[in-house]
């Protein structure tokens, strides 16, 4: 926890009251969820498929530069839509209520090298439950970066701007490795664990399929445009990776976002859980198109409060949530994308260097981390 606790002015009763108010916001949306929302996600899915088809079609002629440009741009957008507004949100169960087996968290598979099953575990379960709790939420720095003054510095961290950049370019592979907890599992003994091996196999299969599709089959289909199509799909994947990485960095890394200690979540009440989500997330401000392209993760705060509400509702929820932030005198961290991206990167650079010991003493955390 940062030196000064920004929630110190709230009493326990106030925190529970805040929780009740947030529950009421949630209930309101659920009671009103219906046909329009269903039509929305169907429209987005169908638009994504059409865009991908057309873009891939145009890329068959990618030796012709304008075709390359249009096809690559279209494919990049299609891939971003698949991962963000569609995949991420369906895998959260946001659309399970429709009872459509084709648009369901248990059946959906996305254009990504991490199989959705594994991602759901590390993301929905670990990250969303233990948001920003050092030592429990691996999203904090993805195990390769130091993102808080309280974390212990190691010379390895000197390179973290570079690691982060490489991670951004190959983000989907980073996520796959992360979902596999590669860092921890590559130790000799764990490597042999049958459960880990099965999961690693699944990732291998998924990577093979994705790579074959993007870098072999589609280029081959393009015949004389083989090389240009190869370059196009590579570019589209790169654009998608950098984009999603940026959006996701903005969710929890910008300055002003709080991190928490393990001890602080012992016996956490519903109100306290909500409060942690509020203080541990940051938004991106911008146009409707901006919200759409981020899969509404620009409403990261609202998403963390209500991860299973349909994404198209976050914008209206945000107005009410923000009013609660004001009422309880809490800081709603938000800003335009460039500012937030800069802020997050700034932190990555700053914390690559050692800092003075934090002002608040946290004597036994170090031990706890070792014990974990």
């Amino acid at each position: 926890m940062t030196a000064i606790d920004p929630t110190a002015h709230l009493t326990a009763e106030q925190i529970e009251e805040l929780g009740r108010e947030l529950d009421a916001i949630r209930d309101e949306v659920i009671a009103d969820r219906g046909e329009k929302d269903a039509a929305y996600i169907r429209k987005v899915i169908s638009a994504q498929r059409k865009l991908e088809l057309v873009s891939r079609g145009v890329l068959l002629f990618s030796f012709f530069p304008p075709a390359w440009l249009i096809g690559t741009a279209g494919l990049s957008v299609a891939k971003i839509m698949d991962n963000m507004e569609i995949g991420h949100n369906i895998l959260h169960g946001q659309w399970d209520w429709m009872r459509d087996p084709k648009i369901h968290s248990t059946t959906w598979e996305w254009d990504h090298v991490s199989p959705s099953e594994q991602w759901k575990h590390s993301h929905n379960e670990l990250h969303h439950t233990y948001t920003n709790v050092i030592g429990k939420d691996n999203d904090l720095g993805y195990g390769i970066m130091r993102v808080d003054e309280d974390q212990r510095w190691h010379p390895f961290h000197l390179g973290q701007p570079l690691w982060n950049f490489i991670n951004a370019c190959f983000f989907e592979y980073g996520i796959a490795a992360y979902d596999l907890e590669l860092g921890k599992n590559l130790h000799k003994r764990r490597r042999k664990n049958p459960e880990f091996r099965a999961r690693a196999k699944a990732v291998g299969r998924k990577i093979r399929k994705q790579v074959l599709k993007d870098y072999v089959i589609h280029p081959l289909l393009s015949g004389p445009s083989f090389l240009t199509t190869l370059a196009a799909t590579f570019t589209a994947n790169l654009v998608r990776n950098i984009w999603t990485h940026s959006v996701i960095m903005c969710g929890h890394f910008p300055e002003g976002v709080q991190v928490f200690e393990r001890r602080s979540i012992k016996g956490e009440t519903r109100g306290q859980w909500y409060l942690r989500q509020m203080m541990g997330s940051a938004n991106i401000s911008g146009s409707k198109a901006m919200h759409f392209m981020t899969g509404n993760l620009s409403h990261q705060i609202e998403h963390h409060l209500f991860p299973d509400l349909p994404s198209n509702r976050y914008a209206e929820v945000a107005v009410k949530v923000r009013a609660l932030f004001e009422k309880y005198e809490l800081e709603y961290v938000t800003g335009p994308l460039p500012k937030q991206v800069f802020s997050a990167w700034h932190k990555v650079f700053r914390l690559s260097l050692p800092n003075k010991k934090p002002k608040v003493k946290t004597p036994d955390r170090e031990q706890e981390l070792v014990a974990a």
Partner: protein, 351 residues
């Protein structure tokens, strides 16, 4: 290489092109009713029959295998964005030239699907279909004399039979509250005028419920007739008893509509059908805890309703969402989050 082998190779290649989606995901965009697609239908027209009943004309997809008169079909309709499945009798003859089929739906007082179909369904809407099933059908060999005994919307499968196959001697006894509630009334009267049917209408609002003993007077030779009866349980129970009493029960064929009546209460007996365990649960304990306590292997994650790691099919009964109080009733394909759901009456969880 045989052509099937070739085709399956080509399909494999196509799957590589579209991974992680399937080629059919793209084909569905342009041709959802094609052969090989999941079976669907398109509503082409909705014709009102009475104040609260309508006939829905459906063009089934190419995979439709056709039906036998008297059968029913399960359809999946999106009501307020939620897909709900119900079974309805087919009312169209099997030889309809244009390949369309019809169901006739009566809006029930609290029926989500029936009200939607009767009052709000729009031509052009896609619905999900199953293949037709049911053994309330006519036999291969034509019986000499036929009796149809129906009440309310129980007339629908029989109408499918009447329209499909002509018999020399057909009598129908049909019960409905008032004349205007008789579904297909004009068509029935036309059949009567053409001497193809003898019809007795029992108007229960004025005449009272049909006393099965009155059959002797309405259809004196009822015991000699091959009989198809469809309607509410009371009528069918009485008929079965009556036919058995006279030793002619093999001439009676019945079809029961079984609206599964779920009584939502507070807590109840929970069955974990895959494991074969049954335990009592109160209305406040999450089913995840109930299952774990009983030694059932339950999938779980956050245990607070956000990760969807615990979802499990609800096969029967009802559960209550502990956060919102919302009741979810079992229907095919319904999954519940066990960590935030408690038993609302007896229920069956597939674990």
């Amino acid at each position: 290489m045989t052509s099937t082998a070739l085709r399956s190779r080509a399909w494999k290649l196509l799957e590589m092109v579209t991974t992680p989606l399937l080629p059919s995901d793209y084909l569905d965009l342009v041709s959802p009713l094609r052969a090989g697609a999941d079976l669907r239908g398109r509503i082409e027209a909705v014709h009102p029959e009475t104040g609260d009943a309508a006939t829905i004309v459906i063009r089934p997809g190419r995979g439709w295998r056709g039906h036998t008169a008297g059968q029913y079909v399960r359809i999946g309709v999106d009501v307020d964005g939620v897909r709900l499945w119900r079974a309805y009798s087919l009312t169209s003859p099997t030889n309809r030239q244009d390949g369309r089929v019809t169901i006739t739906v009566k809006a029930l007082p609290d029926g989500k699907v029936s009200n939607h179909l009767v009052r709000r369904a729009k031509p052009g809407t896609l619905i999900q279909l199953d293949q037709p099933t049911g053994d309330f059908v006519l036999p291969q060999a034509k019986p000499a004399k036929v009796l149809y005994l129906t009440a309310g919307s129980g007339i629908t499968p029989v109408m499918g039979m009447l329209r499909d196959t002509e018999f020399d001697d057909v009598v129908m006894v049909h019960c409905a509250p008032q004349p205007q509630d008789v579904i297909f009334r004009n068509e029935l009267h036309d059949l009567v005028a053409d001497k193809k049917l003898r019809l007795t209408e029992v108007h229960t609002a004025t005449d009272g419920m049909l006393d099965i003993a009155r059959l002797d007077e309405l259809v004196p030779d009822w015991a000699e007739r091959e009989t198809w009866a469809c309607g509410p349980a009371g009528l069918l129970d009485a008929a079965e008893e009556h036919w058995t009493e006279h030793g002619v029960q093999e001439r009676l064929h019945t079809e029961r509509f079984r609206p599964s009546i779920v009584v939502a209460g507070d807590g109840g007996e929970v069955t974990f059908s895959a494991t074969g365990k049954t335990v009592d649960a109160d209305g406040a304990t999450p089913l995840l805890d109930v299952g774990e306590e009983a030694g059932v292997l339950m999938p779980s994650g956050c245990r607070m309703g956000i990760c969807f790691g615990c979802i499990t099919p609800l096969k029967a009964g009802a559960v209550r969402d502990l956060r919102t109080g919302e009741i979810t009733e079992a229907e095919p394909g319904v999954l519940i989050q066990t960590c935030v759901s408690a038993a609302a009456g007896p229920c069956d969880i597939e674990r």
